[in-house]
């Protein structure tokens, strides 16, 4: 096999990320979500073609996670189980080529059933649940599948306008196979009447793209007499398939 300059690094088959669709993603500056105004750059981002720095990323192992890390019903239970609707959330993490992303680190955090976070900065008057931490983490399997159990979070007010409320949601953090795929998002629940009023979901320009953040009720995955279930699939950026360079390598 001929070694071409640069082929040991990026420029090799599949070693470039497909560019991010900035028209689909929320812009940094969205004045209706007021906090964004002072935290958004004013100068356009510099566009970089992928190098090894972007197409590589941290690798996580199951040994780093505990056996209850993906069970929010039990992972902070002290005197009993948390209050709330017992809920399973599951789905696939795929890449932009439709392939399941194996070994992706999926981290989740949320308010309790009353809409209160276990966080020193959250002063909402709904009570802390002594048996609920509100965070969990897991790795996707070889198909890109993940599953965790929790209680459904409550809606809560936030300081944006005087009477702004967040729909029930779960925060998701995804670390895939490349640092350039890094993504944080939020999952909402089908049928929540607050969804059309949310100034944070509205930062996503296109309503059809917002709808991709709304998990569907999945009765077939519910556990009868135990837990409801919701299905939430996510997609990370894919890799370019640079066929020409593959051929040039003499394969």
């Amino acid at each position: 096999m001929t070694t071409m300059p640069g082929h040991a690094a990026a420029g090799h088959w599949g070693d470039e990320l497909i560019q991010r669709d900035r028209d689909m993603q929320p812009p940094a500056f969205t004045p209706d979500y007021k906090t964004s105004v002072l935290r958004s750059p004013r100068i356009p981002l510099w566009s970089l073609q992928s190098s090894l720095s972007e197409v590589t990323g941290p690798v996580f192992t199951p040994q780093e996670l505990g056996p209850l890390d993906h069970d929010l019903v039990l992972n902070y239970a002290q005197s009993g189980e948390p209050i709330g609707e017992r809920t399973i959330v599951h789905g696939f993490v795929r890449d932009g080529n439709g392939r399941g992303v194996a070994g992706a680190l999926v981290e989740v955090w949320q308010a309790n059933a009353g809409g209160r976070y276990r966080h020193r900065n959250d002063t909402y008057l709904a009570p802390i649940d002594p048996n609920f931490g509100g965070c969990g983490r897991m790795l996707t399997d070889e198909r890109g599948y993940y599953i965790f159990r929790t209680v459904k979070p409550g809606a809560y007010p936030f300081r944006n306008r005087v009477n702004s409320w967040r729909p029930a949601h779960i925060h998701f953090s995804l670390s895939g196979q490349a640092f350039g795929q890094r993504l944080i998002t939020q999952m909402y629940f089908e049928g929540d009447p607050l969804i059309p009023h949310d100034q944070i979901l509205a930062t996503v320009p296109n309503p059809a793209d917002r709808d991709r953040l709304v998990a569907r009720l999945d009765l077939d995955a519910a556990v009868p007499l135990d837990s409801l279930a919701y299905r939430f699939d996510m997609v990370l950026r894919g890799r370019r398939q640079t066929v020409f360079e593959n051929r040039m390598q003499g394969g």
Binding site: A9, I18, A28, R39, W46, S53, P58, R120, I184
Partner: protein
């Protein structure tokens, strides 16, 4: 309605990326719970990248992240990703010949700006140069990623070292930045204190010293 999928490929077979949303003010719960004020996981991801047997020069990276009024922020998630001392990433896509992985170095860390001081810090090693596109060397650098309340999508930048003037002058990414005066926003300042080498790297979201952020 409830049985209809809301994800899938477009007409050419590509699956559109999931939309990003802000990490919110309580990002610490999920990603750095000890900073939120409680312990839940046995193993926590941290801002210490080194082990005693890690190869390379020990350095500390630290700085503040300033908002559009110049005020230090105190709730921002910071992650870094870097090569080891030999200039190799701990990842299977890195096939650079002649550079070994270091089993004692993953090259990834995570922290938040401090609720009181606004400072973030990492204890790590100085990375070696990595081969860039078309075989051209990249100057040693660390990749940073930020997410927080008020940020609808994570921001990416690179930290370069101000004592690597020769390699920096040849770096394709640094040389791309225009006007050249903005390149200084990507340089961390080396300081020596009590036997510790620290590189100070402040981030400015806006203003005359607005940091160069990359669409990677």
């Amino acid at each position: 309605m409830s049985r209809m999928s809301n994800t899938g490929p477009d007409a050419l077979g590509y699956w559109p990326e999931t939309p990003s949303q802000t990490a919110g003010p309580y990002v610490h719960i999920g990603l750095i719970p000890h900073q939120a004020g409680f312990e839940i996981f046995e193993d926590n991801f941290s801002n210490v990248l080194t082990k005693p047997e890690t190869k390379g020069e020990r350095i500390r990276i630290e700085g503040r992240i300033l908002d559009g009024t110049g005020a230090p922020t105190r709730d921002i998630l910071v992650e870094i990703w870097q090569a080891n001392a030999a200039g190799r990433y701990a990842h299977p896509a890195d096939r650079q010949p002649g550079k070994d992985t270091d089993p004692a170095f993953r090259g990834w860390g995570r922290t938040g700006t401090d609720f009181q001081t606004g400072l973030y810090a990492f204890d790590t090693i100085k990375p070696g140069p990595v081969e860039g596109r078309h075989g051209r060397p990249m100057a040693p650098h660390i990749n940073l990623w930020f997410a927080s309340r008020g940020m609808n999508i994570g921001l990416s930048t690179r930290l370069y070292f101000d004592d690597e003037a020769e390699l920096n002058a040849q770096d394709a990414v640094l040389n791309l930045v225009d006007p050249p005066s903005r390149r200084a926003t990507l340089l961390a300042r080396r300081e020596q204190r009590d036997g510790l080498v620290a590189y100070v790297f402040d981030i400015h979201f806006q203003g005359p010293n607005e940091t160069v952020f990359f669409d990677v």
